[in-house]
Symmetry: C2
Subunit: 309 residues, 2 copies
Amino acid sequence: MNYLKIFSPATVANVSCGFDSLGFAVDAVGDEMTFTKTAEKGVKITEITGANLPYEIDKNAAGAVVQKMLLEANADFGISMTIHKGFSPGSGLGSSAASAAGAAFGANQFLENRFSELELTKFAMFGEEVACGSQIADNVAAATYGGFILVRSYHPLEIIKLPVPNELRLVAIHPQIEIKTKDAREVLPTKIPLKDAVTQWANVGGLIAGLYSENYELIGHSLVDIIVEPARKNLIPYFDVVKQNAINAGALGAGISGSGPTIFALCKGDETAQKVFDAIKNNYKNTGIEATAFISKVNNEGIKILEKK
Amino acid sequence: MNYLKIFSPATVANVSCGFDSLGFAVDAVGDEMTFTKTAEKGVKITEITGANLPYEIDKNAAGAVVQKMLLEANADFGISMTIHKGFSPGSGLGSSAASAAGAAFGANQFLENRFSELELTKFAMFGEEVACGSQIADNVAAATYGGFILVRSYHPLEIIKLPVPNELRLVAIHPQIEIKTKDAREVLPTKIPLKDAVTQWANVGGLIAGLYSENYELIGHSLVDIIVEPARKNLIPYFDVVKQNAINAGALGAGISGSGPTIFALCKGDETAQKVFDAIKNNYKNTGIEATAFISKVNNEGIKILEKK
């Protein structure tokens, strides 16, 4: 194989109650990346479209991951890449994670798949660090494994792939405002009441039980975040209105994707998803804030190969 | 039916990471209770063995539950009860819960099973309040539903029955010291670091995923409590020694049952359970503390009918 083209999905992390623990992959939105084997060692990025990202390998999430993997595998060849962003950095949909996880997956294809999904997740976390300054796992694990994932532990890293009920649909709206990661972190409480933590972990338990038992009602009841959402929603104009409109239109629940500003809603079935989409797609009209909305299945396969030769 | 004899199980609540949320029912230990229909209205307790508990209906967890149910159902008959405690109050194994849940189940049999398991849990919670001063759900729900349960929410009450992997076994040891409920509550932190809460809810998620997927290794990794156990273990002499011995002998994990002092360990299979039992059964020898240990399956059926006529 000399050439590979892949789709690497957007991801929703911090799924309501599951702050820093639960994420899932998106089917309809993501990046396209190509990888071409070169006789010359080293990594090159020849084209980036859809976002203004650095071409320097050390500063690019995808480039840094591929470089690290080729070095670690002691590869006698190089890789030349192109990155076509299908969604914006800063959306809260795991933009750097899609690039980093896609890069890890792509490089692995040229290395006879020697690395496991867990190892690819670790490489991609290194890419996240290059892009964002910290090794976050939930977005890159969701992109790598597909479906819903639980980051059970960081030390050692343990990722659990959870089942995805067949009719689960995502509706998301991205109001195009900037939320600084620093601000999103600073509004979080450092300490929380034990009783709120109990409420939250009972909801994490309910959400996971709902995914395993395909109990949409339980998923809906459990999609509640009493800790992070109340702190962060003030960074997202009209969050409460959008969330309420989604729920009124039949969504199981709604919340902040990642650290925002994208707002996501989970729904049962295409028909309800369409209603929820219709109910929220114009919520930012006349507010002076541009917004784009989409409907998607949950992507259960993770990164997909589009072409290889 | 004029006569009913039942077994109502002991229960382990606060299962490691699942403080106030996760419980399960025990197969080998519990109470026996009898119920006899009487023409005269009202409730009587004619015999209590195995523990020193009040015969006054208003002060007895079981008596108060049956009285409330007969009143609510406007029953034209009464019930006379006997209670034979198979384990001690104050053990941390849900003694009042066994009585209260057993009472609710028994009375329901004479009321044509008009009340659902959720309603029975609510009645039994009233019994818990009579005995302990607060309406706790995890023990009574585990006794009522059997198996592993998640208290997903208190308002409204929502109980989720979780699957029990076939080879899951319990080993427990009850050092006969008294822990006052007040002390057990007072040592708890009122606030906890958000990052510890995240670790804890990731473990709750892992434990529930492990139960659904029969992944004993994952169950073991997830049986970790970094919040309540560190605060409460100092109330239980030799806790660390017993826990370490259990884990060294092959237990998946170990923790405090309820608010103690019973220490429980979960194991995969009878052989390992026997090794763990052997490793901990004499841990209180020569300490001046009496202790009793037992092995049990997880009871997946809840309360069982032993005889009816």
